[in-house]
């Protein structure tokens, strides 16, 4: 409250500040006066209120070093503090509400006839390592990024300014350090999964039938279905945008000025938020949302009934090529049979 009152007072004392929009009319002085105040004109120029940006000279050589006050910065800061935080909070809240509603209505999407216990290999060790590397890096960046974006309105009231300043510094430093790893793991993801994620005939039907989550009818899918492919391309394409904008922000060594940084920052935040929002849906669908899906990313094997239900064309291939293994064989291969732990205790 105190701050707001203070700000209000400040605005009343400096009327020109409260009218940030619209260029001030230089020429219309009260009659008989050539200038209201020479200092005022200079101030207007420095504040970049004219049509042209005043680029002064400075002993310091560097990008934007001739600009004393960056007017667009205020606009950006306002946008960041008001619109960005508000809408991103709404988006995050909305996705949780939506998922909860979906869960209430649809429940856990099961498999007709249940799980058989007979498994097929879906992902190699390497593919799962790539997935989880990307996931770990992404989660870390999402959390630290959200602390930076929403920390002020959300965390200061909770922890106070002292603690938040610490948290913000830690988040910023680690976010910047880990950031480039997202691009590296994204490229690993791109190369190891791209072949199976190219759209093909039949994918559109999947979309038209709402992916089988709406209504009852079974929908056809290959190794990856239309929904998974689309999620893949969202990750790759938006992820690339987030990575590149992130690199532009973290490495101000290519002559990018403040305006570029501001625009890039806004793009970075919006794209990252989009990824976070969709990823929450992905996490839900991959774990609680559908029966038997998480297994594929945990052990690399999925139930054959799961494959038949969600990826019938691939499932058929598994049947034809005789790739299905028994429950006992599966236990053996994933190391859950007989002597299980290194300390020798038996589990089955």
């Amino acid at each position: 409250m105190k701050i707001q009152t203070l700000l209000l007072l400040l605005c009343m004392m400096l009327p020109q500040f409260s009218q940030a929009d619209g260029p001030p009319k230089k020429q219309t002085y009260p009659e008989g006066l050539l200038s209201l105040n020479p200092g005022g004109e200079l101030w207007s120029d420095i504040r970049q209120r004219g049509d042209s940006v005043l680029d002064g000279t400075s002993q310091v050589k560097g990008v934007d070093s001739g600009i004393l006050i960056n007017a667009s910065g205020v606009e950006w800061a306002n946008f960041r503090v008001n619109e960005l935080t508000t809408y991103s909070s709404i988006a995050l809240a909305a996705v949780f509400v939506l998922i909860f509603l979906f869960f209430l209505i649809r429940g856990k999407v099961g498999i007709e006839g249940g799980l058989s216990g007979r498994m097929v290999k879906r992902f190699t060790d390497y593919e799962r390592i790539v997935h989880w590397t990307l996931a770990v890096v992404f989660l870390f960046l999402a959390i630290t990024g959200l602390i930076l974006l929403l920390g002020r309105p959300l965390l200061i009231p909770l922890f106070g300014k002292e603690v938040f300043s610490l948290l913000a510094s830690a988040s910023k430093e680690s976010h910047n350090l880990v950031g480039p790893l997202f691009l590296v793991s994204l490229l690993m993801m791109l190369f190891s999964f791209v072949r199976r994620n190219i759209y093909e005939k039949g994918d559109l039907t999947w979309l038209l039938k709402g992916g089988g989550f709406i209504g009852d009818g079974h929908v056809s899918g290959g190794f990856f279905n239309m929904g998974e492919k689309t999620w893949y391309w969202i990750v790759i394409l938006i992820g690339l945008v987030v990575s590149v904008t992130g690199l532009i922000l973290v490495m101000p060594i290519f002559g990018q000025g403040r305006i570029i940084m501001e625009i890039v920052h806004v793009i970075h935040v919006i794209c990252a938020l989009a990824l976070i929002v969709v990823s929450i849906g992905h996490m839900y669908m991959g774990s609680v949302g559908t029966e038997g899906t998480l297994e594929g990313m945990k052990t690399g094997y999925v139930d054959i009934n799961w494959a038949d239900a969600h990826h019938d064309r691939w499932g058929k291939e598994c049947h034809e090529k005789d790739l299905i293994i028994s429950a006992e064989e599966y236990d053996k291969l994933v190391g859950t049979s007989s002597v299980n732990e290194a300390d020798g205790s038996k589990t089955t």
Partner: protein, 213 residues
């Protein structure tokens, strides 16, 4: 209070546990009785021991396709960690002021950042492989996971404190380092030292038999 503890007694305690623990283990290895081999040697055990200490840094040609990712991730992690440990500017300064009394040229900031990134990526991949591969999942013990987690936390708190502005963050980093040092001699982290005698023993064994190990 906490600050005094972490910068004072706990630091000395961890150093003592670390160095005494490591020395005790190495002594137990080197001074343990070994039966002499009575067979007639074909090759030199000594030179093979030394050679094997170095040759095992690279995988056999026959193995490369199978374990490539582990070697790449392993090197990213270990080289990154070593660079950080001994050449990051704050570490060099710390060692000079608190332990050694002399310093050396630290690496530039960008190299510091790149090393940290390499170490993080390497450790994450290695740890995930431990969890994803059925063989490593089966043989991994609680110790392996604690050691990986502690190392990860030490690296993470280090990177949280990058700005070097907040005492609390610096103390957090130092505290985790102290935990790591105390845990070290009790765990497989010991491999940082014992890999040398292990390779030498095996190199000597093969060397006596005239096998290039």
């Amino acid at each position: 209070m906490i600050e005094n503890l972490i910068d004072g007694p706990l630091w000395y305690l961890s150093l003592a546990v670390f160095s005494l623990g490591v020395l005790w283990q190495l002594a137990a290895i080197l001074f343990a009785s070994r039966k002499p081999d009575l067979s007639v040697a074909r090759g030199s055990a000594g030179s093979s021991a030394i050679k094997t200490v170095f040759s095992r840094f690279l995988p056999h040609r026959e193995m490369r396709a199978r374990i490539g990712i582990q070697y790449i991730a392993g090197y990213l992690f270990h080289l990154g960690l070593f660079a950080l440990l001994f050449f990051a500017a704050p570490h060099v300064l710390f060692l000079e002021e608190n332990l050694l009394g002399f310093g050396w040229t630290p690496m530039p900031h960008w190299a510091f950042i790149v090393s940290a990134q390499a170490a993080f990526l390497g450790l994450i991949i290695l740890w995930l492989r431990r969890l994803m591969n059925p063989a490593t999942r089966l043989i991994s013990t609680r110790d392996d996971h604690i050691a990986a987690l502690l190392t990860f936390v030490v690296m993470l708190t280090g990177c949280l404190a990058l700005l070097e502005e907040f005492t609390a963050l610096r103390l957090l980093h130092r505290f985790t380092v102290e935990l790591w040092l105390i845990y070290f001699p009790f765990s497989t982290l010991m491999h940082a030292f014992t890999f040398v005698p292990s390779r030498a023993f095996t190199g000597a064994w093969f060397g006596r038999r005239g096998v290039d190990a």
